[in-house]
Amino acid sequence: MTDSSANQRLIRVPVLTRVEGEGALVVKLDGDQVRDVQLAIYEPPRFFEAFLRDRSFEDVADITARICGICPIAYQMTAVQALEAALGVTIQPEIRNLRRLIYCGEWIESHALHIHLLHAPDFFGCASGIELARQFPEQVQRGLRMKKYGNRLLEVLGGRAIHPVNLAVGGFYRLPPRADLLGLIPDFEWGLQAACETARWVAGLPFPDFQGNYDFVALKHPAEYAIIEGRVACSDGLSVPHEEYEQHFDEQHVPHSTALQSRRIPSGREYFVGPLARVNLNRDQLSDTARRVADEIGFTTPCYNPHRSIIARAIELVHAFEEGLRWLKDYCPPPVPRAPHTPGPGGTGCAVTEAPRGLIYHRYQVTDQGRIAFAKIVPPTSQNQAQIEADLRQLLPSIVQQPEAAIALSCEQLVRTYDPCISCSTHFLKLRIERGG
C-alpha cells in the first residue's frame, strides 16, 4: 500500500475525493485584509481507491466510471490505458482512433453543457440555462442540440451516455457497425458549424478583468492535439513522460476539504489544468477550423484570464466535432474488438488523459492473478483546487468592500470558470466571512 515514489513525500497512500456537490468558501478577514481563504469541498467521501482493491482488473472501468456522471469516459479511458500498461497489452491503431472518437463525444456533451447551462448564464445575470433560454433561445437550443449529438455518439459507441458499458482493457466489447457511425455524420457536420457559431457568440461576452499568474499544465503530443496520451507539459517548460507524473505533482490532504489539493514538486506551487491550459499549450495543433475560428474571434495565447475559459471550451468544441467527423468518416473496423490478454504476469501501470475539465491521472498495481493491489486516481478538480484558492485570494482584496452577496457571486463565478465537478451544483458556495481585527 505504500506509494514510494522518488519524491519522498509523507503522503504514502492514494487519495481519491469526489467533489461533485457542495463546497463552501471560508474567508477570514483582518479588517479588510484577507487573512485566509479556504475552498472547502465536503462531498462525502466514497472510497473508490479502497474498494477497487482485490477486484478483477476487468471491473475497474465500470467502477471508476461511477466517480463522475458528467465525465465517465475520462475515468474509464484513463483506467483501461493504465491497466494496459500494467499488463503489457498493446492496442491496435483502429482502436486508438475509436478511443479518440468516443472521447470527442464526451468533450462535446460536457463542454456544451458547461458553456450553455452552467457558465454563460453568469454573463447575463441568469440563474440557469433555462432562464438564459428566454433571452437567447437560439443559442441555448443550439447548445442543447450539440450536447445531444455528443451524447448520441456516446450511446452508439459506448452503449449509453452516462456510464457507458463498451470500454474494455484492450479495446471495446463490441465494435460499432460502420453504418451506425456513418449515420452520425450529418449531425456532426451540423455540429461543426454550430460550434463555430457558439465560439463567435461567447467571444463577445463581457469578461471581467482578471489575470492570474498561472502554470498551465496539459498533455502534449508531437503529432496531435493531446487527448488520450502525451507528455505532461507545463507552460514553464517542464515536459516529462507520464510515468514521471508523481515525481512532479503531489496531492496533499488539507483539514478543510474532502478533496485533495495537488501541488507541484518541488516548488509547492499550484497549477492550472483544463481547456484554457490545453489551448494555451497546444493551440497550433487544433483542427483547421478550430484554429481558423480562434483567429477570427481574436483569441490569442497566452491567455491568463480564467473567465475566458469559456472561449477555450468553445474552440475545443469546434475541434471535437471536426476531429470526430474525421474518425466517423475514416472508420474501418479492426479485425477483433479488443487485444487479447492472458492472466499474469501482473505489474504496475499508469496513464494520463485529458478529461473535459483537465488532466486526470491513474496508477494501478495488478497482481499475477489480475487483481488490483493498489489504485491511485487523481481527478482534475483536485489539481485545480489549490489554484482556485489562489485565484480567490487574489480576487478578494478588490471586492471585500462589497455586500456579502456580491462577494459570493463574484467568487462563485470565478470558481465556475474552472468547470470543477462541484460546478454541477451551480450554487455551490456558502460564504462565511469571519471578520477579526
Binding site: 462525502p44 466514497r46 456522471g69 432562464e131 445531444k148 462563485e412
Partner: protein, 274 residues
C-alpha cells in the same frame, strides 16, 4: 404559476449522473421547465427556493450524520419523495463499505483520516424516511425519468417495468450471451429499464438496475455464475452498484460463506429495511 407542481432535485452521496439525466433530456428540458416549477435544482440553477415541494427527486445515499438529518427535513418538506438511481434506492457503489472495515477504507484513501467525517455505512433513502417511488438504475434511464415526471404532473402513479433484463433483451433480438458465448450474465435476476444494453454489446449484464421483483438468486448463482467462476468471484459480481439491495446483499453473503471468506454486514445494518 401557482398551479404548477413545485419540483426539487436534491443530491446526497453520488456521482451526479442521475440528475444529469434530466439535463440530458435535451429535447424535453425546456418543456419540462414550462410544465413544472423547478424550485430547487442546484446542478442546473443557482436560484434555490425552500420547500414545501410537490415532488422531490432524490439522488445519492446517506453517508454522513448531517445527511441523515437533511433527508428527514426534506421528507417533511415534500409531498412526494422519489428516489432516482442506485445510490438513493440501494446505497450505491459506496455501500461496499457496508461489508468492510470502514476505518480500513479511510486509512487506505486519506492521509489524515481524522479530517474526514463519514458514517461507517452507506444506506438508501428508504432506510431513513418513507419513499413514495423508487426509480432504479446506475444511471437511471431518461425515458423512465420522463415517465415519472409526466405521471406525477398528471397526478398518477408512474408505471415502470418490473420485468427482468432478459425480456427486453429477447425483444431486442439479442442472441443470449450465456447460451451462445458462455458468459456470466445477471440478466435473469436484474430489473429491466436500461434497454438490455450489455448483452447487445457482447458482454454479460452487470446488474446496474438491481434485483428484479422476485429474483431466483440461488439458481442464478448455481447455474450461471458458479459453473464459470469461484464462489468468491460470483459474490463480487453481485457486489457493485446495488450491493446493498437485499437480494444481492444476501446472496453475495451466501456466496462468500461458500467460498469460506465470510463478509458480514456492518453490525448496525440489517437487510430487511425493504
Amino acid at each position: 404559476m401557482p398551479n404548477k407542481p413545485r419540483l426539487a432535485v436534491i443530491k446526497f452521496a453520488s456521482c451526479d449522473g442521475c440528475q444529469l439525466t434530466l439535463l440530458d433530456a435535451e429535447d424535453e428540458l425546456l418543456s419540462i421547465a414550462e410544465a413544472v416549477h423547478i424550485a430547487h435544482f442546484a446542478e442546473a440553477s443557482s436560484h434555490l427556493e425552500p420547500g414545501p415541494y410537490d415532488v422531490a427527486l432524490v439522488e445519492g445515499s446517506i453517508t454522513t450524520e448531517e445527511d441523515r438529518h437533511r433527508v428527514r427535513r426534506l421528507r417533511a418538506d415534500s409531498k412526494y419523495l422519489v428516489t432516482i438511481g442506485a445510490c438513493a434506492t440501494a446505497g450505491g457503489v459506496q455501500a461496499l463499505r457496508n461489508f468492510a472495515d470502514h476505518q480500513d477504507f479511510l486509512r487506505a484513501v486519506y492521509a489524515h483520516p481524522s479530517y474526514i467525517q463519514s458514517l461507517a455505512t452507506s444506506t438508501p433513502i428508504s432506510a431513513h424516511v418513507k419513499v413514495d417511488f423508487e426509480l432504479r438504475g446506475c444511471p437511471i434511464d431518461k425515458h423512465q425519468l420522463l415517465e415519472v415526471i409526466a405521471s406525477l404532473v398528471a397526478g398518477q402513479r408512474p408505471r415502470t417495468s418490473t420485468e427482468s433484463v432478459c425480456q427486453p433483451c429477447k425483444r431486442r433480438g439479442t442472441v443470449c450471451v450465456v447460451v451462445a458465448q458462455g458468459l456470466a450474465c445477471l440478466g435473469p435476476v436484474t430489473q429491466a429499464g436500461c434497454g438490455s444494453i450489455c448483452p447487445a454489446y457482447d458482454r454479460g449484464c452487470y446488474g446496474c438496475f438491481g434485483p428484479t421483483r422476485q429474483p431466483n438468486m440461488t439458481s442464478q448463482s448455481d447455474h450461471i455464475l458458479r459453473p464459470r467462476m469461484p464462489a468468491a468471484d460470483a459474490a463480487l459480481c453481485l457486489q457493485s452498484f446495488n450491493t446493498y439491495a437485499p437480494a444481492f446483499s444476501q446472496e453475495s453473503q451466501r456466496l462468500w460463506n461458500i467460498a469460506g471468506q465470510p463478509k458480514p454486514l456492518h453490525p448496525s445494518l440489517t437487510v430487511d429495511h425493504d
